[in-house]
Symmetry: D2
Subunit: 307 residues, 4 copies
Amino acid sequence: MGVIRLGYVHLRVTDIEEAKRHYRDTVGFRIVQDEGKTVYLKGWDEWDHHSIVLHEGGIGVHKLGFKVNRPEDIDDVEAKCRAFGVTTERMSRGDNPETSDGIRITAPSTHSIEVYHDMTLVGSEVGHLNPEVFPRTGLTGFAAPHIDHALIGTNDGYTMQRFFMDVFGFYCTERLIPDLDHPDTVLASWLSQGNRGHDIAIIQGDNWDGKLHHVAFQLQEWSDILHAAQIMSMDRVPIDVGPTQHGITRGKTIYYFDPSGNRNEVFADGYTNQRDRPTNIWTADCLGPGIDYLTRTLSETFTTIVT
Amino acid sequence: MGVIRLGYVHLRVTDIEEAKRHYRDTVGFRIVQDEGKTVYLKGWDEWDHHSIVLHEGGIGVHKLGFKVNRPEDIDDVEAKCRAFGVTTERMSRGDNPETSDGIRITAPSTHSIEVYHDMTLVGSEVGHLNPEVFPRTGLTGFAAPHIDHALIGTNDGYTMQRFFMDVFGFYCTERLIPDLDHPDTVLASWLSQGNRGHDIAIIQGDNWDGKLHHVAFQLQEWSDILHAAQIMSMDRVPIDVGPTQHGITRGKTIYYFDPSGNRNEVFADGYTNQRDRPTNIWTADCLGPGIDYLTRTLSETFTTIVT
Amino acid sequence: MGVIRLGYVHLRVTDIEEAKRHYRDTVGFRIVQDEGKTVYLKGWDEWDHHSIVLHEGGIGVHKLGFKVNRPEDIDDVEAKCRAFGVTTERMSRGDNPETSDGIRITAPSTHSIEVYHDMTLVGSEVGHLNPEVFPRTGLTGFAAPHIDHALIGTNDGYTMQRFFMDVFGFYCTERLIPDLDHPDTVLASWLSQGNRGHDIAIIQGDNWDGKLHHVAFQLQEWSDILHAAQIMSMDRVPIDVGPTQHGITRGKTIYYFDPSGNRNEVFADGYTNQRDRPTNIWTADCLGPGIDYLTRTLSETFTTIVT
Amino acid sequence: MGVIRLGYVHLRVTDIEEAKRHYRDTVGFRIVQDEGKTVYLKGWDEWDHHSIVLHEGGIGVHKLGFKVNRPEDIDDVEAKCRAFGVTTERMSRGDNPETSDGIRITAPSTHSIEVYHDMTLVGSEVGHLNPEVFPRTGLTGFAAPHIDHALIGTNDGYTMQRFFMDVFGFYCTERLIPDLDHPDTVLASWLSQGNRGHDIAIIQGDNWDGKLHHVAFQLQEWSDILHAAQIMSMDRVPIDVGPTQHGITRGKTIYYFDPSGNRNEVFADGYTNQRDRPTNIWTADCLGPGIDYLTRTLSETFTTIVT
């Protein structure tokens, strides 16, 4: 089956107390393990032990974890890495708390990407027997149920797209090219393994290897986007772009910054993807509506701020 | 990769003219081929040639088509059918217009299920180059972009669940059992291949082999459900249940009847599934909130009307 | 200026503890004064001291309070009552806690209706200086900001419509008549003083003098109606009708019952009224879509259950 | 009863053909009378003959019309104008097509404001007998049902606020002041006659006498705001601010420009006002969240572009 999803993101933050407050009180994630300078969190509707890890020290993304379905898929991914020509190392159970063994890949973009097959099952907060649709009490902030995806930087979009396709088995749902004369130049690519608009996306920039453009949290729909924005306003969270809708993926969205300056997103719905759906192609002159369909205007920060 | 999605549903209708008007003007699907007593339609955001086929003569479902990713997947499904013990026959390109060769399976529930690998690519009405988020003109009714899933009847839920898991590679996202003392009795099962709540679902009933419970169209969100209901009211479409939310899948929904009495559904959002998400278990005493979470009351028609 | 709004509703409840839990935890109103068997509550966005009063003992409505703009409006209403031929008595400041003096009218329908010009100003919970759009913390249940309106029973719809028009200066926004041959028979009437679909409505029934059909709480929009329904489901509040939209007023709505069996409503948006907007006329055969526009079906309870 | 509502706005446009296309195809208003260089339009849910008038020649607002309830209210407004010290002249039936006689006031801000008591009743497009909730066919663009309000410029906010309160009987729902040390300096004021956040608003600026800040169209709710923004994107309408929510009035909103550069707004819901609701006070340092609550940032254009 291969890689099934983005399972965790380790973020660097400048001030762990401030970050804890933000991700707990504004995003509404739960702290499941607190080791002082490193904190593990999960959304109320996630079933594995954690999905967001905050490390004090700097900004940006420390590493990303992708989950495979079965232990034997680890070997398969490792073999494909070897064929692709990226280096991997084995990681042991417990290298990440409550997490199985697996491999650690240094992606062409220099990002550290871990692949694992198991994490301690905690379960959704509504349980899995005759569940309610959300927890009746205890939700706070905009109460994101899940992480959704990440957009990471790279110096070489073409190679990173190929990496996620060849090694992870993802397919490209949408792609940004300079113009129709350069159809093979990948300025950005949205990659999915199943029915979602993207599980991971990559964007090319000068010296963007290892960089984070944003990590996204999932919300359900447009009314949840408004509610999230109201909470951001009350908590003085700086909004970067939105509320708006993407042309790319048709998701409803807000980009905003966490207290350390890492860009985050709340992302809701968008169309249902399928492996046989034709890839949408965007030319650079239409990146404005691709990102901010409603105003058709590209925020300058979109192509200048990464962490 | 195996079976990737429900591609088409052939429905029997009592009056083809009435049915055409309904699916075209109320649902907002496009007629792509009209052969008099048989009519082919697609949604504005579907890329393959057709997804709904209406045949005059009776009611219920004539056959369902599932698409695989590659021609060689046909052989794989055929082999799994043989291992499972269901009969198949080869179908030829053109048996269905604009559709590749494949196989025709008689499922344990007696439903005729076709598997194909290709259909003429027509493309979304917004195109795939810098697309708008929906067509600016020409949409009508509630303008469903896609079919979504079907719920079919069976005399033997356990076997049909196994069929879709073993032969199609689907996993069970939610399951209805009589009570916790009978965890292996499958009264109903929701089955997915990717990130959706279900691509197909099955429900057990007396002499429900071959029956259709409903075919669903996809909408985006709760506000679209209201809009669909307003259109249904104006077009005097009889609503069966809703607008409401399912506990099962958390989708927002309306069940209604087409002019022939086939139950249809509009279905929006619901949670994102993953293969490693624990299966939700529903006991029969909670089928009320499972189907109609808001009123927690099971409509009598839900378990009595199939076509 | 005359009567400006429905200010308070005194409800009879069978069990005060149960009622307090419901109106506080599910509706999300605040208890502002607790006298044991009588409890005063307000919504977070109301500025006067209280709007809902619960009295243990029976069911139904004990009395309704309407606010006038200025002390001298009391005399004006009193004079109009005399002209209309209904009896009034003076009430003193403090007859209702934190409430000014005024008059108590016995309406033609036998309902006790109080008119007052002042109540202790508490203010919205967001304050009135650079306010946030809702309180960041402490909201619970569906957190209704306001009461909205009441629908009361009467044996004589025509007279009660005239009462609210002649004495209170309201105008009729929508009216239910038996059929076009009987345009003057008032089966129900929706009455407004300003821009809302109704501040009060009356409905005729056998022995419905003094009865309460429902008291409504205001919500903002369709997504809030869903949220309220989800909370009702979790709190096992019996839903009577909805979620749906009224044809009459176009409001989005749920009717439900409080623990004593009094019908309540959550009501959102609807069109903007104006005194010069032509009155909508509904004939009895269209009461179905008038009340439940989406299903076009009249719940049997609508015309049989009053308290 | 006095002035009940803003009834019409005459706008100057640079190119009448372009303006007709915009207001008809994008806003979705109906052309009810076309005199070449002057065009009369109404929304589908308006009952009077017209509400928007487009005149070729320049930009900005030519005049505004306010409706009173009864012919005798004209005299009352005239008397109050005299007492206030503004000049009026009589206008005759037919000065404006399909419109009664009345008076024409030169407001302290130099705006030409007409007051009339009657206009030919055309009725809502859904009729007033058992009406549907919107017209089943023929709506286009974002299909605004109504005009909502206007925000006009003035050199002297204090006087213009007093004008609308003393002469028109409006009350102030929200007010912008420089700071708490200058509570009587009116930088902007939102004024209502009934239950709406505002029927008219005024904003002070240098040489802003006679200027138009924006004219607003009414939509129902947040999902309609998204739909309007999608249509604006498709029609390449330049969005100025939004989609967002105002802190002031809590309305959901988009500011945008018509083809001539006049600012328009789509405005949905917001709280229910009442004459006894305490006036919200905004200090100038909070104008950002007052206008754009979600980003808390004031667009530079808000205080620089008027027409």
